[in-house]
C-alpha cells in the first residue's frame, strides 16, 4: 500500500470525526525514549504521526520545538538513526507516519536516497516548511508522488483561496496543512470564527482534507476544529508535556500518552 493510500484510508476510517496528528522531534529527549513516545502516541488514539528530523536551524518553529531539536542533536541523533526508529515504528503500527523536515537534512542525506528509503520502509509522506512551490528545482513533489508519498502543501493565513487551490492541484497529497496563525509554532492560537470558517472554504476550493495546526494545545481547541477541519495537528504542547515529565522525573512516553488520550476525547464527544 502506498503512503498516499494509507493516508486516504485513515481519513476514511475516521468517518467524519476529526483526526489528530501528533508531532514530536525524533531523538528527543533521546532515541530510546523517542521510540516509546511515538509508540505511545499510536496506542493512545492518534490518527497520524508527524515525526520531525532534528536540525540545527528550524526556522518555522518556536522555542519548545527548537529546544527539542537541539536536545535531540546533542543526544547524538542522526538522520540515519531517525529513519531506523521510524522504520521500526512502522513494523509495530499501521498509523500513517509523515516525516517533517527542513530541506538541508534531506539534501545532506540525498533527496532520492531519503525518498527511496521512506517508500521502502512504508513511511507515508513529507512536510517540508522551507520548500516553497516557486523554488521547484529539486522537484520534490514529482519525486514524492512517483513513490506514492504525500508532499503536504502548507497554506498560510494570507494565502489566497485561488493560490490554495493551485497549490493543492499541483500536489498528490490527500490533505493540506492549514497554518492557523502567523508566527512560529508553540504559542496558543485563539481560533477566531473567521479562521475557522476559512477552513471550510479551503476544503471546498482544494477538494482535499484539511489538517489545521500551529498553536493547537488543548482539547477545547480540537473540539472547536472538529466541525471545520478533518484533522487537528498538535506539536509543541506534546513537546512541552515531555519536558515537564522529564523535569519531574516521570516517564515522558506515559505523559504524552495521557495528553494524546485527553486530546482525542474530543473525537467521540
Amino acid at each position: 500500500m502506498s503512503g498516499i493510500d494509507r493516508i486516504t484510508g485513515r481519513f476514511e476510517e475516521l468517518h467524519g470525526r476529526v483526526g489528530l496528528m501528533t508531532h514530536a522531534v525524533v531523538g528527543y529527549p533521546d532515541l530510546r525514549s523517542s521510540a516509546r513516545i511515538f509508540s505511545s502516541m499510536a496506542s493512545s488514539g492518534a490518527s497520524f504521526i508527524e515525526a520531525q528530523l532534528p536540525f540545527s536551524d528550524p526556522t518555522a518553529d518556536g522555542p519548545s520545538i527548537v529546544q527539542a531539536n537541539h536536545a535531540a542533536l546533542r543526544a547524538g541523533t542522526t538522520t540515519f538513526s531517525s529513519l531506523d526508529l521510524l522504520s521500526s515504528l512502522r513494523k509495530e503500527t499501521t498509523i500513517p507516519i509523515l516525516i517533517m523536515s527542513y530541506l538541508n537534512p534531506l539534501l545532506a542525506f540525498g533527496i532520492d536516497a531519503i525518498l527511496d528509503r521512506a517508500a521502502r520502509d512504508g513511511l507515508d509522506g513529507f512536510i517540508v516548511p522551507d520548500y516553497p512551490d516557486d523554488e521547484s528545482e529539486l522537484d520534490l513533489e514529482a519525486k514524492c508522488a512517483a513513490r506514492g508519498l504525500a508532499l503536504v502543501p502548507l497554506i498560510a493565513p494570507a494565502t489566497t483561496l485561488i493560490r490554495a487551490r493551485a497549490l493543492a492541484e499541483a500536489s498528490a497529497s490527500p490533505f493540506i496543512y492549514a497554518v492557523m496563525r502567523l508566527g512560529v509554532t508553540g504559542r496558543k492560537t485563539e481560533l477566531a470564527e473567521e479562521a475557522l470558517s476559512r477552513l471550510g472554504a479551503l476544503r471546498d476550493v482544494t477538494g482535499r482534507r484539511v489538517a489545521a495546526g500551529f498553536g493547537i494545545r488543548e482539547r477545547s481547541q480540537v473540539e472547536a476544529l472538529a466541525l471545520r477541519a478533518d484533522c487537528a495537528i498538535v506539536g509543541s504542547a506534546l513537546i512541552d508535556a515531555i519536558g515537564e515529565a522529564l523535569a519531574k522525573g516521570l516517564d515522558p512516553a506515559a505523559a504524552v500518552g495521557a495528553k494524546v488520550s485527553d486530546l482525542v476525547g474530543a473525537q467521540v464527544s
Partner: protein, 426 residues
Amino acid sequence: MRHDERYFGDFGGRYIPEVLRPAFEELEAVWNSAKVDPAFAAELKRLSSSWVGRPTPLHFAQRLSAELGGRRLYLKLEGLAHTGAHKINNALGQALLAKRMGKRRLIAETGAGQHGLATAASAALLGLECEVFMGEIDMARQQPNVFGMRMYGASVTAVKEGTRTLTDAVNAAMKNWTERVSDTHYVLGSALGPHPYPTIVREFQSLIGSELKSQIMDAEGRLPDRIYACVGGGSNSIGTFSAFLGDSVELVGAEAGGRGPAPGDNAARVAGTGRVGIAQSYKSLFLQDDNGSLLATHSVSAGLDYAGLGPQLAHLAATGRVRFEAVLDDDALKAVARCARFEGFMPALESAHAVALALKEAPAMPVDSIIVVTISGRGDKDLFITAPHFDREAWLAFLEAEVTRLRGEAARQDKEAARQDKEAAR
C-alpha cells in the same frame, strides 16, 4: 522552473515558508520601484553625505607601504562612516525602503553589533521603532554596541538558542518577522538570505567599491592590482568587489580562520570545509555536519562568526573570480596592533583579518604593486576584547577601580535620596 533573477550561478534562491511570501512580494515590488526612482536615490545620497559622512576616505598607508618595500597600500576607511562601519550604508537604505512601504517598525539581527547599531540609528533618524536580535554571547563581547543601540532607542533582545551568535540571531529576526509582517520590515544586515536581500544589500553597499574606484584613479591614475576585504556574510566584500568584477583586479576575501582548521574552531566556508546546502532560506556554502545541521563556528570577531556565505560570493568562489583565504585570530589581533602603531588607527577585528592577509601576501607581489584593503569598521567596539589581550593587567585594574567608583557613587546617591525623603517627610 527556476527564477534565474534569484540566483547567482547555482546559489541564492528564496526558500521561505509560505507565511512570509506576501512580505517578500511586497519587498521585491518596492525595491524594484525604489531602485529606479531618482527621488529615492537623491534622498539616500543627501543623508549619506550629511548624516553618514560619505564619501569615506581612501587613505594611503605611507608607513606600512614603506614596511612593504614600497608596494603601495591603500586603506578604504569605512570605519569613518557614522556608527563606525560600512553597515550604515545598507541600514539607512533599507530604513528608507521601509518608510516607502509604510512600515513603522524595523527589526534586525546583529553579530558584532555594528549592523544593529546602524539600524537603530537609522530608525531614530527616520522616527521608526526598532528591535535588534543579538546572540547572548555576542552581547557579552560587544557590550559598547549594545549600549549604543539602547541609546538610539532600540530594544535589544538576547537570543539564547543554539550557538547564541549571529546564525541564531538571523533565525530569531526572521521568526519575529513572521509574526509582524504587516507593520515591520526586516533589515537584513548582510548580502545573504532569501532573494531579493542579497541584491538589495549589495546595491546599497556597492558605493564602497564605486567610491574606491574613482579615488584610486585620482590618486594613482590606474586600478589597483589586488583588493582585500574580510568576509563574514559578505556585505563589505561584495560591496567592495562588485565595482571591479569586470576589471583585471585580483579580489581576495579573508575568512575567519579562528583557532585553526578543526570543525567548530573557525568560520572558513570557502577556505575551509563549507559545503552546498539550503539553510536560512537560501542556497549557498554552509559549514555543516553530515546530517545537514549547521556547525558552531568560532572567531575572535563576532562579525565573521557565521556558518553561511552570501550566495553571490559563493558563486564568485566557484568561478574562481574571488580567492578566499583563512586568517587566524592571533594574526588578526597582531594586525590591529600594526595598524595602530604604523598608521594611527585601529581597525575592527573583522577588518583586521583583511589587513593581516594583505600584509602577509604583499611581499610576494612585484614592488610596483598597488594594493587596497577595505577597512569595514573601526576598532572602538572591540575595546573589551583588545584591551585585555594587549594590556591585561592595566585593563583589569581599570575595570576594578571603575566598579568600585561606580558602586560608591551609587551608594552616595542612595544615601542622599534617603536624606531628602526624610527632610520632605518632616
